[in-house]
Structure formats: structure tokens, C-alpha cells
Subunit: 295 residues, 2 copies
Amino acid sequence: MALFGAIEAGGTKFVCAVGGGPATIAAETRITTTSPTETLAQCIAFFRAQPPLAALGVGCFGPLERRADAPNYGHVTSTPKPGWANADVVGELRRALGVPVGFDTDVNAAVLGEARWGAAQGLASAVYVTIGTGIGGGALCGGHLLHGLLHPEMGHLLVPREPDDADFEGGCPFHGADCWEGVASGPAIERRWGVRAERLAPEHPAWDLEARYISSALTTLVLVLSPERLILGGGVMQMPALLPLVRRYLQRRLAGYVQSSALGSGIDAYVVAPGLGQRSGILGALALAEAAATR
Amino acid sequence: MALFGAIEAGGTKFVCAVGGGPATIAAETRITTTSPTETLAQCIAFFRAQPPLAALGVGCFGPLERRADAPNYGHVTSTPKPGWANADVVGELRRALGVPVGFDTDVNAAVLGEARWGAAQGLASAVYVTIGTGIGGGALCGGHLLHGLLHPEMGHLLVPREPDDADFEGGCPFHGADCWEGVASGPAIERRWGVRAERLAPEHPAWDLEARYISSALTTLVLVLSPERLILGGGVMQMPALLPLVRRYLQRRLAGYVQSSALGSGIDAYVVAPGLGQRSGILGALALAEAAATR
């Protein structure tokens, strides 16, 4: 069996792994994100200590350039993260390791991982959303990861303000309270209630409000992308009471407009937690490697 | 050169044409939509009077079923239009004419037509939106028309209410004022101002409000689909002052978050009128036929 390398490249840590799939991870390490040179050198050292890889996959924080014909293909682009703007992630790894490198956003990697081994197996379309420090989403459409001008930034889509939240100033540096992340990320919850999300009791009104904002955004995602499944991950979704509330509000918002049993009696199988738990990202990077090897 | 047939199937009229492309339309007719049997019989009679076709394309009002493996593939599904719920459009045409039939939504056909011969030539991704009696959109993603659970219904995506429009009750039978169509369709404009949209002067405040709602929806479409171009058609967009206003508000809403020259200095080439004028739908149906012939 071919051995693949995977990097889940985040703003605070990089996870590196080698293996063939979820059941055959042979080695794994976590690296604190510092400068690009130093962080990537540590990744390279980890992979060099392993048996030869068939390919490497990188699911990376963004924004990034992944149009194959762009001069800066494989770079992180305009991030405010010190040192990382225009960092040539793919070039550095490919030069050092000499293997094909699959490269996409962390959330596109996650939806691919879920399609390969998790909650979206066998589907040609799905959306993976992470709701945590920020909100981001990746999409599989017609069997392919969604790209275009750049890549989706669905965490910033517009959601109507909930009437009982009219005074909240929001938490998005770009859009204030005028986007999904601005009203529903973990930091937005903390800012609104003065308590970290994980310390709010299940019966706190924060969760009902949160479910309404999430379901508004999901309504728009269903109407725009028509995915066969919605997968919700990230720290905020760890509150068990949230997912059932989100499903109920999503049905209410759609108001029967989209006629599909998936949105009716099948809602529990339509809006789901990740099948790979908190491993969608790293396993998705492994799936990116697999795809890069067979290209 | 192969001859293709095309049907733009609308709720009030069916347009039928035969030809090889925009410059070689050999015949065309308009049929008032009555019952499915009668309307389709008139279409069939029109095509039978033409030289043999290589294939037929149908861009159809929805909702419709176009998953190839569904038992009711090729049917209009849950429309309130009398007689048309569960009408087997593709089956009837294929049995009568004996040619391959390409079938998709009217707006997916339109974006395909624009990609083949109009404003999205050479692009792998684009969105076509029509803003008129209703609002609908089609999308090309990675070179393919977007489908999934069903097909996009992006006219009903959620847009935040504009503060100076807080009292408007909206015009969507499903979502009131809580969706794009509910606040920005032609009938919504007429309901709000008591005058038909085409009779409102360019300096009427209706157009500024309309531009804000449209740009809110486009902001979400950019963030979710990341298309390489946005094409805006339909009756409401006939007001020349509207398009430049929409572009300006779209830039303001995105607030520099998506870093691409297309959304900066290139905005006039990014948000555009249809390259095929009011012919995107019928020519798109011709492009569907072309694709069906080569499948």
C-alpha cells in the first residue's frame, strides 16, 4: 500500500501525519506555527525520517492561491499572520521532498476527507463547515472541490440580524456584525455574553441564538449549493444541544420551499457531525495526497 | 454542421428554436404555455417540421428532477402551476422525437449559454442571475453546471433587511421579506412603491434600495461560490442606472475581504450584463442540446 504524507496547516499549529488512511496512520506530530521557514523545516524533517512517500497533501489556512496556472500557485496569499503573507508552502515542500503535493484550503481538505472516509462517503456533493475561532466552509460539488476566482470564504456570508441581538456590535474585523462569523464564531459568543462558549450551560439563551444564526447561514448554503449533506464541525459545535436546534431552525427557515425528504424526515441524516470527529482536516490532507498521487 | 433543437420552457411561454449557434438559428417559435400535453404537442409539431435534429436541449422552469438515476428524471416536480406538477417533459419529448435530450433549469441553461457564446466564454466558473418576476440563478463550477441534492434555488437566499425598509412585508409566499426574491423581485418593487418597476424614474430611491439588496445577495454568492464572473439579467436589470450601483455596493459589502483585482479595479468586467442579451435562456438550451449530443 502506498504511503502518503499529510499536513493540516493551521495558524497556531501544523499537524503532520503519514499513512494510507484513518486506520493506518504510522506516525504523527504537532508543530507550533512560527515562521514559514522554521515551521516548514520541521515538517520536512518529520517526513524525511519516514519511509518514502508517494505524495503529500496540505490542507492550509488561507487565503491561498491554488489555481494551477497562477504564478504564485501554492502560496498563502494575504494573511495578516506575521511572515506568512506570500509564503511559498507548496514550492518549499516539493523542492525538499521531491513528491507531488496536493494543496487546498483546510476546509476543502476536510470535506474531501469526510467524502473519502467520513460522513459524506459516496456523495458527489457536500459542505463541511467549522464553527470555532473563525467560521469557514469547504464544498464538494459534482465530485470536485469547489474553486473559482479564489476559493469559498463562506464564513463571511451575510446573515440577517436576529431581532433580539440588534445591539451586538459583532466580532468580524472586516464586516462587524454583518457576516456569519461576526455574529456566530466562538469569539463572537464570548464577546456577546462575556463568557467563553464552552462555559455556557446548555440551557443558556446563547445556544438558541447561535442555532438561529447557524441555521440562517445553512439555509443560504442549501439554496445556493444544494449539497447532499451538511457537516458541522469545530469547537462551538461541541455543545451537544446545538445540532438538534440547528436542524429544527433550518427546517423552519426553508419553510418547505425545497421539497426533499432529506430536509424533512431525513434531516437528522442531512445535517450531521463530522464522521471523522476532529480528524477531518488531517485525514482530508491525506486524501489530497492520494488525489495528487493519481493525477 | 449538426442541427440542434432548443426549448426555453417558461411558466407563461415556451420558446422553441433550431440551429447550430447564435448566428445560425434556422427557425424559432413561441408557444403560450397551457397544459403539458398540449404545450409539448405544439413543441413536437414545430420540431417535426424541421430537418432532423442531432439532439434537443430544454432549459425549464422548476423545480425539476435532473438526477440521472431518479425514477422521475426529466420531470417538473412540485410546481403550483396547474397541471405541471410531475409532468414528464423529457420523456414525452424523447419518445416523440427520438433524440438525446439535455435537461436543466432555465437559469443553469442560461449560464451555460453565456459560457458557450456570451459573457462567460473561456471561464470554468460563473453565476447567471435573473431578476424579474422572480429571482433565480444558475452556476457553472469547475466547468460543470451546479447540481446536488436538487438544483440551486438561489433567489431565496437570505439577505439582511435594509434599515430604511424595515416595515416592508415582502412578497415571497414562502419567506415573506426574509429572502432575496421577497424584497427585490419586480413584484416586490411594485408592492413596496405602488408602481411597476419599469415606470420608476432612474433617480427614484427604489433603485438605490434595490442595488443594496442585490449587492447583499451577490456578496454571499461571491463568498460561497467564488465565481469568476457574475452575470445579471432579467427585467429589473433593464434599468441602466442599476448595474453601476450594484457594483459599488458589492465592493463596499465585501470590504476588501476577498483580495482579487476582479473585485477591485476589474469590477466592471466582473459584474456584467448578459453577453447574449435576452437570449441567454434559449441559446443556453441549444448549448444543452450540444452537450447531450456529445455525451
